[in-house]
């Protein structure tokens, strides 16, 4: 059966309402006043962009929202979107000392949103580029989180920056690929506008290699930053029926929510989502929220093997998503040119952690739609075409110096998903800022000093300053003791 939409505009709006709404002023104050203003706070070390979290929370408690937002955005120009999309449970909030006092951690993400909303709603520009430029120019390929993060940092260092973006709007996955109940695209668009006000030129609808030649860019700019991210269309199930019209990519499905009215997005009553990463979770939860009677994750390994974060898994279950573990699709079953269901086989996970098919266990499950949420693949072909001499890693990601972002081509730097293989928005921004400093050092010989974190002031031997050495919260302790040895 062809796909269709189930909900009225009103129902869709209610179902897709923000999961973590904005704090009311008193909520924000009460929450901010809980913060202990720790010294050398672990939340800072757990933030890949090294935001001085105690400082921005203190400023909220003192009703100084503009400065609070400045603290956030100076460390992370995409601080408004990260406030919504960061997996705070394993980053800042997962490191909060309150957990050790058997209390709830500070709601850092929501406080961050509260402060940044203030400056965006009131059109206050807190980041500034120097009036006098340094005469150097950098081309940024890709206007996603990495490209924007790099551009914002360079602009503040006095560079003339141009971003080349193939889509209609910059922002990348922040604009098109975030679950709708987590973040609205206008947040990402507002951040793009803020970065434009730093003097960054953004040429949208321009595909490097097609619309503009790479040779021209190399001639015109002193350095190039690659932030092309990953491709969502590369990996295939390679099973019969995969090209039926009701088999879609998860990111395309999520993207539709950002370009179509919510209640016009089409789906089936029974939806299968293949894969169990965080994007799969977003897709299955959104299918459920858009009125699918059943939305089921189909995953070839066990529950404990899933790459999705535990808090995402929990939240999807609350949304009513269902899960089938240890099953592998072998065929998309067709009827009259439409998806009828999936032919699945049962699997077991062997000692090496690989899923093995159990012979003779084939069965059929009826589905009207199949959403593929497989691992995103590197854009090796594109990169090879643009820079034939660029060194890639075995997995197709761009090889680079981890600290400076520099590739084997001295004038080419990189960060974000295309280099790290696919991590969070906040990782892309943190890495991109480091790459911007790498570019600065390479072009001018000067070391750029970021905003000094006042809450770390006085540390004789700083450990894990967040931006320099970000760690995930569960790893904090382990890493700390490893360093002590």
């Amino acid at each position: 059966m062809p796909l269709k939409s189930f909900l009225t505009a009103k129902q869709a709006a209610v179902n897709m309402d923000e999961k973590k709404p904005k704090f009311r002023p008193q909520e924000a104050l009460v929450e901010a006043e809980r913060c202990l203003y720790c010294f050398d706070a672990p939340c800072i070390a757990a933030c890949p962009t090294g935001i001085d979290i105690p400082s921005f929370i203190k400023k909220i408690a003192e009703k100084n929202l503009t400065s609070s937002a400045r603290v956030i955005l100076e460390s992370n120009p995409l601080g408004a979107s990260c406030a919504r999309v960061c997996p705070v449970e394993v980053l800042c909030e997962g490191a909060c000392v309150m957990l050790d006092r058997d209390e709830k951690p500070l709601q850092i993400g929501r406080l961050q949103r509260y402060a940044t909303d203030h400056v965006f709603e009131n059109d206050i520009q807190v980041l500034h580029a120097p009036k006098k430029k340094n005469g150097k120019s950098v081309a940024v390929i890709g206007g996603g989180p990495a490209g924007l993060g790099c551009a914002a940092e360079l602009a503040q260092l006095g560079y003339d920056v141009t971003i080349f973006e193939k889509d209609k709007e910059a922002g990348g996955l922040n604009t098109y690929g975030i679950a709708y109940y987590k973040m609205r695209p206008d947040v990402s668009i507002a951040e793009v506008e803020m970065i434009k006000k730093l003097g960054v030129k953004i040429r949208t609808g321009v595909e490097v290699g097609k619309t503009v030649k790479i040779a021209d860019i190399e001639k015109k700019f002193d350095a190039i930053f690659i932030g092309v991210g990953l491709s969502s269309n590369a990996l295939r199930l390679n099973i019969p029926g995969e090209d039926l019209p009701e088999v879609v990519e998860a990111l395309d499905f999520i993207r539709e929510l950002h370009v179509e009215p919510l209640h016009k997005v089409k789906l089936a009553k029974r939806v299968a989502v293949v894969g169990c990463g965080n994007t799969a979770i977003d897709a299955v939860a959104q299918a459920k929220r858009l009125g699918a009677e059943e939305a089921i994750i189909v995953y070839r390994r066990r529950e404990q093997d899933m790459p999705a974060y535990p808090h995402e898994y929990d939240s999807a279950k609350v949304d009513g998503a269902e899960f089938m573990f240890n099953v592998l699709p072998v065929e998309v079953v067709e009827k009259n040119g439409h998806v009828e269901g999936l032919k699945l086989v049962r699997t077991k996970v062997n000692d090496q952690g690989k899923a093995e098919i159990i012979p003779g266990s084939e069965f059929f499950e009826p589905f009207g739609m199949v959403i593929k949420a497989l691992t995103q693949a590197p854009r090796s072909d594109l990169l090879k075409r643009l820079f034939p001499k660029l060194k890639l890693n075995k997995d197709g990601t761009v090889a680079r110096n981890e600290v400076t972002g520099q590739t084997n081509l001295k004038h080419v730097f990189t960060a974000g998903d295309c280099a790290n293989g696919g991590r969070e928005v906040v990782n892309a921004v943190g890495e991109a800022r480091k790459a911007a400093r790498g570019i600065h050092k390479w072009l001018t010989g000067e070391t750029a000093i970021g905003p000094i974190q006042k809450t770390r002031y006085g540390m004789k031997q700083p450990y894990g300053s967040g931006l320099d050495n970000p760690v995930r919260a569960p790893e904090l302790e382990e890493e700390y003791y490893a360093k002590q040895k």
């Binding site: 400023k59 003192e62 006042k454």
Partner: protein
């Protein structure tokens, strides 16, 4: 960005935030760290004949989860030799020429005061602060608050100091007096360039019920200590205003001290006439880094008010405080409850009913659109506007911001103060206002 720099009686500093003469201001090491963190001035821990301290030294008043709402201490002046302190002042001044370093001094005889003043000048201090305020230990030896409580002695000692003063002299006043004005006037008469206040307040924070000994505990005994921290700010602001509004003290620059924890506290002091502020407890709680939030917040506030300099804020509220007899008896305000915000705790009701003026009733919630989670039929508070005297108590106890708002009620009557009322009565032009039933 507003200009935060100040000039207090000739002492210049890049911002109005100074480290107060106290444990955070003990050494050159702390001085370097303070200036690196962004403090504008550093009032060295009081230099005198080295003393011997006890263990333990501090105790606090916690309010619920809030630690150190008030702090008391029985630590004395510097336990380091004057030559060490003066040498370090010299080093620090060399390293931080644009920041203010003030030597706090405490000694006894005229010769000793002359000697200390000379050494402070030789060390390159930007000014001195005479510690006439310390309320524990030193006062038993005829110094500190023992001086500050006696205007004649203040005048004499400041006179000695001014005989040789080549740099600005600030007199630090004690709040442990009936009125702080006579000590301030005495300091001014003797030629002091500025005053700073308040020093700490005599206090006992609590008794340990096991030992029956108050804190801080020193081998089975305790002593009264100097109280400071957020809890003392209202007392400090009042004393500050008394001096700022005193005609005889007019023009006397004031350095405000007492519970400054954030930019708003500092703004309070400056609006009531202080040129700058000194901070101790907030540093003892959070470290020197706290100044960043203070500077940032004050700067944002000044920008939001279109003020180019922190000096534009100074004294703006001084004339807004008057004697009770000048207040308008015909002004009226009443409480209003925003039922969209009301959470139905009914604290306003019982506060007014038992603690104030019986101007709130509990009524049936019919007709009011109450929020989720309410018990159906539970009584809700209603202001009896004709009984309400506008005392503010309900708004003060209300746990929801902006839920109870005090609103002006036009009375149509002309301004009439108690003074005017008494004059009107005496002239036979007015009838007495009937007593409240």
């Amino acid at each position: 960005m507003a200009d935060l720099s100040i000039n207090l009686a000739g002492i210049k500093s890049p911002n109005p935030f100074w480290v107060a003469s106290a444990p955070p201001a003990n050494t050159a090491y702390q001085c370097h760290n303070a200036f690196a963190a962004g403090w504008g001035g550093f009032v060295w821990k009081t230099i005198g004949t080295p003393i011997v301290n006890v263990s333990s030294r501090y105790s606090a008043l916690n309010l619920g989860q809030m630690r150190m709402a008030g702090l008391n201490n029985i630590e004395l002046i510097s336990d380091r030799a004057p030559e060490t302190n003066f040498r370090e002042i010299k080093e620090c001044k060399k390293a931080w020429p644009n920041h203010a370093i003030i030597a706090s001094l405490m000694t006894d005889t005229r010769e000793n005061w002359h000697d200390f003043m000379k050494r402070a000048v030789d060390a390159g201090a930007d000014g001195v602060e005479l510690n006439f305020g310390c309320p524990h230990g030193m006062c038993e030896r005829g110094m500190g608050s023992a001086v500050g409580q006696n205007p004649e002695v203040i005048e004499t000692i400041v006179g000695w100091v001014m005989e040789v003063a080549e740099i600005p002299v600030i007199v630090k006043l004690t709040p442990n007096v009936t009125s702080v004005v006579p000590p301030a006037r005495a300091a001014k008469r003797a030629g002091a360039n500025a005053v700073s206040l308040i020093n700490t307040i005599n206090s006992i924070t609590q008794v340990n019920m096991e030992t029956m000994c108050p804190e801080p505990y020193v081998g089975g005994m305790s002593t009264h200590g100097g109280y400071c921290g957020p809890a003392v700010k209202p007392i400090a602001l009042n004393m500050l205003h008394e001096i700022a509004s005193d005609p005889q003290c007019a023009g006397l620059p004031i350095s405000g001290i007492g519970g400054v924890s954030n930019w708003k506290d500092a703004a309070d002091f400056i609006a009531l006439g202080a040129t700058g502020v000194q901070v101790c407890t907030a540093i003892m709680h959070y470290g020197f880094r706290i100044v960043e939030e203070m500077k940032d917040g004050l700067s944002e506030f000044l920008d939001s008010k279109g003020m180019k300099s922190v000096n534009e804020l100074r004294g703006l509220a001084v004339n807004k405080v008057t004697k009770w007899e000048n207040l308008n008896l015909n002004y009226k305000r009443v409480a209003t409850i925003d039922y969209d915000k009301c959470i139905n705790c009914n604290l306003c009701y019982i506060a007014c009913e038992d603690g104030a003026h019986q101007a709130i009733a509990l009524i049936k919630p019919d007709g009011h659109d109450l929020g989720p989670g309410r018990l159906p039929g539970k009584m809700i508070p209603k202001i009896l506007e004709d009984v309400c005297v506008g005392c503010n108590l309900c708004a003060l106890v209300c746990p929801v911001d902006d839920c109870i708002i005090m609103e002006d009620v036009p009375t149509g009557k002309k301004h009439m103060s108690w003074k005017q009322y008494q004059e009107g009565l005496a002239a036979g032009k007015m009838k007495p206002i009937p007593a409240h039933p």
